[in-house]
């Protein structure tokens, strides 16, 4: 059975100096599952996401992405860090969308979308340009390929960033508060693109404050606080009937 598009974590720990940011986190995300992670700031939800993409390394615990140990290979006594090349290869299978978009300002929207395939996968330029056009069209920006990021609105930039990640054909897409830096009226256009993506069966892990999105789209929901998964379960169930008091008080404040 293929493990593509799955994320499995067991007792992940991570600390920055004396501060423990992730404590014994367990995750089990199946292929095509949409998982939303919610929680107050500083709860470790972004860090967890960044670990799945290798932007941070975990201190201990098991982390398997697409069925493989992520960033490390296991021997009898230890996990050994992979070479940069092998790590890069694993990363190409996990797309990441950032809160601040992080488009390359020196490239046009199209060049941004092409950057992964052309620079990393050494794909044919013409093919990549064609595919980039398709992807830009799919996020509603077919006519904006020649614009530079500085000439696009936040919502447009974020949609280009999603297209850029999709261009690598990842099995998993990670979203780190993708709408938090947007004008309220631009949030919808990004969420629409994400909903489309969810319908296509992409595995998605979304750190978000958009409870409406979580309720409508997510399969599972994780509520994190102080580096611990406080509550997890079916998204609509948790949002409607939170069991833990910490979850209840958080949801009361944000809903």
């Amino acid at each position: 059975m293929s493990n593509d598009g799955t994320i499995l974590a067991s007792r992940i720990r991570k600390s920055f100096g004396p501060k423990t940011v992730l404590q014994d986190i367990d995750l089990d995300i199946g292929s095509g599952e949409i998982c939303c992670i919610i929680g107050p700031s500083g709860s470790g939800k972004s860090t967890l996401l960044r670990c799945i993409n290798g932007l941070e390394t975990v201190d201990s615990g098991i982390l398997k992405v697409n069925g493989d140990d992520f960033g490390y290979y296991e021997t009898e006594h230890a996990y050994h860090a992979l070479s940069p090349k092998k790590l890069a290869l694993q990363r190409t299978r996990v797309g990441m969308v950032f809160q601040q978009f992080n488009l390359f300002p020196n490239m046009t929207a199209r060049e941004n979308v092409m950057s992964g395939p052309v620079l990393v996968k050494r794909a044919d330029k013409k093919e990549s340009a064609k595919r980039a056009q398709e992807l830009l069209t799919s996020v509603g920006l077919g006519a904006f390929g020649d614009r530079y990021p500085a000439e696009l609105s936040g919502g447009q930039q974020q949609r280009v960033a999603i297209a850029r990640s999709l261009a690598m054909d990842p099995e998993i897409m990670l979203f780190d508060e993708p709408t938090s830096a947007l004008d309220p009226e631009k949030v919808g256009e990004v969420l629409t693109v994400m909903k489309e993506l969810a319908k296509k069966g992409m595995t998605m892990v979304v750190v978000t404050h958009e409870m409406g999105f979580a309720r409508e789209v997510a399969d599972s929901l994780l509520f994190m606080d102080e580096g611990i998964v406080v509550e997890r379960g079916d998204a609509r169930e948790v949002l409607a009937n939170p069991k833990e008091s910490r979850t209840q008080s958080f949801l009361k404040k944000v809903l």
């Binding site: 990363r91 190409t92 020196n106 960033a161 850029r164």
Partner: protein
């Protein structure tokens, strides 16, 4: 209840509408005093310069376009261009080494920068000129074999070579710091985005970091060029016949020390001013935008909608 805002209180017949009156800047007595003092001092200096016969302006005029002065100027320009070019390339290499994750590589580059910035250029120039005292013969060959030739260091390290080596190596240390500063101006998010796409270190450097670091590197490099132009005068101690040395050679014969120093100074000033213009253009071009606005695109003019206070 309504309030009427009284827009134009007219002071008298024939005066302008109060809403249209210009607003004048405050001029303090200190400003007027400063102007008077500055003008007096300037007039004094000018009078002295024009009336003191020891300036020998006729001799300044005579030597201003003298052949050996012009040749010296050419050599100065050559030294500036060559040592800046080599220094920048080497500096780029050092900056990349310094941001390397491999400790010894970063440390080596750091040690180089410390050494070459921590000692005076003049000392470095004399050092390279006398390097043959340290290594009389340079042996080029394959290690542990008999293949290779020995070169007399003294013959290799002539004054101009020593000047080029000294200036370039010193400049490299400064350029390395400038370029590294440019690298660190590139946002962390950019590097994370490149990482998440799986870009290799070299690719990240070439396609993401260096293009975005350019706006802060280029103006600073322009400043270095202007600095280097004047710094080349130091190599006169090695007997290189650049602009200053050419002037010195003439006044050693004619004893017209001051006029010839003025000749050299005027040339330095002219060249610095000529370089300052493109430099200030570069600074203007790169100062406002941390994000590069594409050359071909139209300028986006942001205007606040009416009724919104700024």
């Amino acid at each position: 209840m309504t309030t009427v805002i009284n827009k134009g209180s007219k002071a008298g017949a024939g005066s302008i509408d109060a809403t249209l009156k210009p607003r004048l800047r405050l001029r303090t007595p200190a400003e007027y005093t400063a102007w008077i003092i500055a003008i007096l001092v300037a007039a004094g200096i000018l009078a002295s310069v024009l009336t003191n016969p020891n300036f020998k302006w006729d001799i300044v005029g005579k030597y201003f376009t003298h052949e050996s002065i012009l040749r010296g100027l050419m050599l100065t320009i050559f030294l500036t261009v060559a040592s800046m070019a080599m220094g920048t390339l080497l500096g780029l290499g050092l900056a990349i080494m310094r941001s390397s994750k491999i400790k010894p590589v970063a440390l080596a580059a750091g040690a180089y920068v410390t050494l070459f910035r921590g000692t005076p250029v003049l000392v470095q120039l004399i050092f390279w000129f006398n390097i043959s005292a340290l290594y009389p013969n340079l042996y080029i060959g394959i290690p542990f074999t008999d293949i290779g030739t020995a070169i007399d260091t003294n013959a290799l390290m002539g004054p101009i070579t020593a000047a080029l080596v000294g200036l370039s190596l010193n400049e490299a240390a400064y350029m390395a710091e400038i370029i590294r500063g440019g690298f660190s101006a590139v946002g962390k998010g950019q590097i994370e985005a490149a990482d998440s796409l799986g870009m290799s270190g070299a690719m990240k450097m070439r396609k993401v970091i260096i293009p975005q670091a350019m706006p802060s590197i280029i103006p600073a490099t322009g400043n270095q060029v202007i600095g280097m132009f004047k710094e080349t005068s130091l190599v006169s101690v090695l007997g290189v016949a650049e602009l200053l040395q050419s002037a010195q050679l003439i006044y050693a014969r004619t004893f017209d020390t001051i006029p010839l120093l003025i000749v050299a100074s005027i040339w330095y000033l002219i060249m610095t001013l000529l370089l300052s213009y493109p430099q200030s253009r570069l600074e203007q071009k790169y100062s406002h935008t941390s994000v590069r606005v594409p050359r071909k695109s139209k300028k986006v003019v942001l205007t606040a909608p009416e009724g919104i206070a700024r």
